[in-house]
Amino acid sequence: MQDWLPAIVIFIYLAVVLYIGVFAFRRGKGTGEDFFLASRSIGSIFFFLALFATNMTAFAILGSSGMSYKVGLGVFGMMATSSALVIPLTLFFIGTRLWAVGKRFGHMTQVAYFRDRYECSHIGTLIFLLTAAMLIPYLIISIDGGGTILSSLTNGKISYPIGGLIVALIVMATVFFGGLRGAVWVNVLQTLLFVAFGIVAFLAIGSHIQGGFPGVVNRMLTDPSNKLAPTDMGKMGTLLTRQRIPWQVFLSFMLIPLSSIMFPHMSIMCFTAKRVTAFRKTVVWYPLCIMAIWLPCCFLGALAPGQEQVRARVAAQSESFKQWLEEHGDVKAGPAAGLTPALQKVVAAGAKAKPKTPPALFAATASKILAEVRGGVEIKPVDVAGEMYAVKNPDFQSVWGRIATQNSDSVLLEMLKVYVPAGLAGILAAGIISAVMGSDCHQILGLSTMFTKDVFTYYGGSRTSEKSTVVMGRAFILIANGIAYLIALGRPPIFELAVTYAFSGFAALSPMMIAALFWKRSTKWAILANTMWVAAWVVFLVYAGQHYHPNDKVLGNIVTMNATGALSFLGFTSVVPMTLGAAILVVVVSLITPPPSRKTIDRYFGFVEEGAGRGAAAPLAAA
């Protein structure tokens, strides 16, 4: 029953979500604008809550705590507080302008805006292809996340494929019936749940930890041997500082939040506000809500390595470790022979980083531990993981750290299972599922809107009716979600890689949006150059991620793979050369190519300047 209790709570939550989606269906008008944009009628409070849910993915809860587990609480400053400043600023400047051109010219997507603003056709199609290609992996990752959470919380009673199917079906039904209105109504519940999640989880876990938070912090700070550290990057106490994050990486992350407004589903949300004043409360509350979610998650994640029980459970979730335990049938066959290919890969990477660590050392020690723990009876992965941590050899620990933190995103779920009563864990898990589903609804609806409006309607011309537009939108939702689910079942790692780089890709598309909204002289060739630049980079980054290993040199000391396996440019992350290069390209190409016709420029800037000239507040719309 204990295993099922969290699942029962989650099922109640999912039933409520489904009901709201179906209820929204009854309020629908059956037009394209109503299905895709809720007739541009979303009021201030709903707009804020829905926009926030759209923006926050499962990463805000699971990813943030998982990364803090590995590199410390500097993740909060690096990813959350940079977003707390930059995202509201982009909403203030870019979001309000987007809303205005959407209202003025009836645009529903970024592509429709670019096509009309720059008098182009196929360039718009290229933008559609690139943004769709960078968004699709998110659908797969969302389904994957839903399956993992349900499976983990019920200790496998609900299998991963069934868990993923449940989440995919509920999301699909919500947007299939309710369209954007359904997604927004569901978002209200979801945002409240996952904002509350952080605070409740913090209090619940804090009250159950032995010695409380002060006790854990004190242990981490006074541990001289580093034996508790999950990686070899430094002493345990460094997790409570920013020492594990290079300053170049920290600075690079100031550019990542520029991606937010360029995600198709986020810009589509900007079109849905009833009035532009809906942005006013949104931009002020945004930083505080980001803090409410991220701060407790990062803090809990950074403190988790100081709790041996949690640490062993996280290590036991490592895929390569689990596979090794399952397949390590014959210990007598010799230590190295016992390593699976997946584990061998991690061990080899560790050995490369620390030449003193031969794979054989790890293999021999690990096999010995396994033989001892086994003792002829059933093996518990958590027990083996605990013994692995107890090995004093630092070279062994440097490799084990890599293996043990492979699935660090599970750290918060493991903390819930260890410290929180099952019923409350279910409610908190509903908060996590909310973060998954809230953004997933908008991603799939955003893709559907783009496909229907930018391809189906655009190329179908006047033959497409309102009804056929909505039918096509719904059909796309069914097909895309079905395909995403089937791909998620295979759990292909390439999608995780693609998601990693999609943030940089969308951030590097922001110069063309800024130019389109604020610079009359910008041209369609500039946005083509920006699009192709980003496409080439994303292909290169995915290629490099697959063909180079941590600490490899790609181009001398200028372009290298860092210790975590990400490309590094003089220490900065890829978003820096991508975004700066894109900005330079947009300026240079605009200056050497002809701008759109005077008529189009006047249409797009005239109505803003006229409004500003009528004695309104000082215009920030300097063209």
Binding site: T31, L73, L85, H107, C120, R242, M254, R280, V283, L295
Partner: protein
């Protein structure tokens, strides 16, 4: 006013880097919250205040009266050339 707000934004960007706290844990707030966390919590509050100032002093009021272009009635009509 524009320049004042731009200056404040720049100040916050610099403050965000807080390299002076890079390897520090102390002072511990409530005996368990390291400076790297509470400093950035304060930063979020500062960001909210900055956005409130933007709203107060630089809100693009001229966008409030935007109306659909003649011929645009509810759904998308401009589909490029």
């Amino acid at each position: 006013m524009k320049w004042f707000l731009a200056f404040l934004t720049l100040v916050l960007i610099v403050l965000h880097q807080d390299w002076w706290n890079w390897s520090k844990v102390d002072p511990l707030l409530f005996n368990f919250v390291p400076v790297g966390i509470w400093y950035h919590a304060l930063f979020c509050v500062a960001a909210a205040i900055l956005l409130w100032l933007f709203d107060l002093l630089a809100w693009p009021r001229h966008l409030e009266n935007v109306e659909p272009e003649p011929g645009v009635a509810g759904d998308e009509k401009s589909t490029g050339h």
